[in-house]
Amino acid sequence: MDYTLREMMAIMAAREIHDGDIVFCGTGISMVAAMAAKHISAPQSIIFFETGAIDSKLEEIPMAVSDSRVMYGAASNGGLLDAFATMQNRITGDHVIGILGAAQVDKYGNLNSTCIGDYSNPRTRFSGSGGACDVASFVPRCIIFMQHEKRKFPVKVDYLTSPGYLDGPKGRENAGLMPGGPTAVITNMGVMRFDNTTKEMYLAGYYPGITPRKILDNMEFSVDISKATEVPPPTTKELNILREKCDPQRLLL
């Protein structure tokens, strides 16, 4: 069955979500991934938004985390303070998996969604952190969506908006952060993970038709590709659910 790269990315992310996870969702493809997980393999996962809705029913895809569509059928509709407390609090926070996007990611999984160029006089300004810095600070597992382009995988991010492993092992601990950090970077070419000891990014999987070499060519820094294997493509079942149940209007896919 044919599929787009965007569909592949959504399915790859969905596969990272375990049953019982509380899934912090942003806008766009992260919402489709969370919905797909809930429909495919993690029916007891709980979708929640920084704006305060917990366990949203999502009858239609929201176009922003403030979209009234996130409120429908939720267990509770609080506010930002409630949502972030749920993550900062270890009792609930340890069950949260975050899904984030960014303009840049470095080899330690640090993210930039603020600007390119000097902060005080930027060449390109982006939206800024939103809740990303908070999520990355608080939760034990994060999935990061990226497009594989050289400038998006720089040696050093122009502005460190959301913490990955900072400068490597002990980086978070030294800074005073909770344990955590990204678990997977999902791109249009493959899936990167982080070494348990060095906290450095490595290539875990490449999509059918993509070579590890091509992935390296699209990054400024180099990563270990020795453990990489080809990722199984989306199944027909996965694709059908994604298309029919998650985004029938094709708003995001």
């Binding site: 985390v65 509709n77 506010g79 060449r123 939103g130 900072l166």
Partner: protein, 325 residues
């Protein structure tokens, strides 16, 4: 702060009375939802200048204020507006052109700063952001801070946990409170004294209100006091915090108002197109904001069919099957 007196006012009068050039302003809502747009457009029409704004993620509202040149300084977590403008376009342009001074925070940082202001505290604690440039880089210099008593002397402070490793924390971030001169929010229901009932997500509106020296409420409906007081637990804002109440149906349009109407994707896409070019955006302001004279004038331009199309479904609170491309 307000008394128990009636506070009904016309929008232009309320903005004139409370929003002064150079004042510190926060508006309610979040990206596409419940931004007090009628008030935002009236501020633009009254050509207010040099506002210092505080925003977590007020997409539409803040971007129009910036575009119209009302804003000099901005503490902000997020300048984005859903699909129509993943980064707010006039915000981006103003920052890249050095037209506004900004300082970056996270959404939790900004929410906490309003919370501290509402609680009457000088600062508040969080474990978010240590090791990042949000903590390490300041937008406002020490020198600028030392000259302006309305800005705290530091962006933030990191201290060791004075209770050893209680709760597993070795260090924490302290963030200074925000107490805006004015907060403006748009709600579904209010009475003439200013008691408000917000339906659906509350974002940070209640804290933004309680932190502010003066508060303007715009609302879809003025409701009888007796009616609101049958369920006091559903009123997030008691009248004691409110200075002015303005009745403005469709007062959040073109952003959404849960249970009343949806955001207008067509309008937001159109603004995004204009916003990409300075001249086009000025034409847009001339036509749709200055040219409209009032919010009712603006709604008349849109036409009743278009607004009817956005009407919220009773069960879901939004416009089901709305064309949102």
């Amino acid at each position: 702060m307000g008394t128990g007196a009636e506070k009904l006012m016309a929008l232009d009068e309320a903005i004139k009375k409370y929003v002064k050039d150079g004042c510190h302003l926060s508006i309610g809502g979040f990206t596409l939802n419940r931004n007090p747009m009628a008030a935002v457009y009236e501020i633009i029409r009254q050509r207010k200048k040099r506002l210092h704004c505080y925003a977590h993620s007020n997409g539409t509202g803040i971007d129009e204020l910036i575009g119209a040149g009302c804003v000099s300084r901005l503490d902000i977590a997020y300048g984005g507006n859903g699909k129509a403008a993943p980064t707010c376009i006039r915000f981006r342009a103003a920052v890249q052109q050095g037209k506004i001074q900004i300082e970056d925070y996270s959404n939790y940082h900004m929410s906490l700063r309003f919370h501290a202001g509402a609680m009457g505290l000088p600062f508040i604690v969080t474990r978010s952001g240590m090791g990042t440039d949000i903590v390490n880089r300041w937008g406002y210099s020490r020198e600028m801070r030392s000259k302006d008593p309305k800005i705290p002397c530091k962006k933030l402070e990191i201290i060791d946990n004075p209770f050893e490793d209680w709760c597993g924390a070795s260090k924490v971030v302290l963030l200074p409170a925000i107490n805006p001169d004015v907060t403006i929010i748009h709600v579904q229901k209010a009475d003439k004294f200013g008691t408000c009932r917000i339906e659906g997500l509350t974002f940070c509106d209640a804290d933004q209100v309680k932190a502010a020296k003066n508060v303007i409420i715009t609302c879809e409906e003025i409701v009888d006091t007796e009616e609101l007081r049958k369920k006091p637990e559903y009123n997030q804002i008691p009248f004691i915090h409110v200075s002015a109440v303005v009745h403005v149906p469709f007062g959040a349009y073109p952003s959404a108002c849960y249970n009343y109407y949806d955001y207008d994707p067509q309008y937001l896409n159109q603004v995004s197109k204009f916003a990409k070019d300075d001249t086009l955006y000025n034409d847009y302001l001339d036509r749709f904001v200055y040219g409209a004279k009032s919010h009712q004038g603006f709604l008349d331009m849109m036409g009743t069919d278009r607004l009817a199309n956005l009407k919220a479904d009773k069960k879901t609170g939004y416009a089901v099957d709305l064309d949102r491309r």
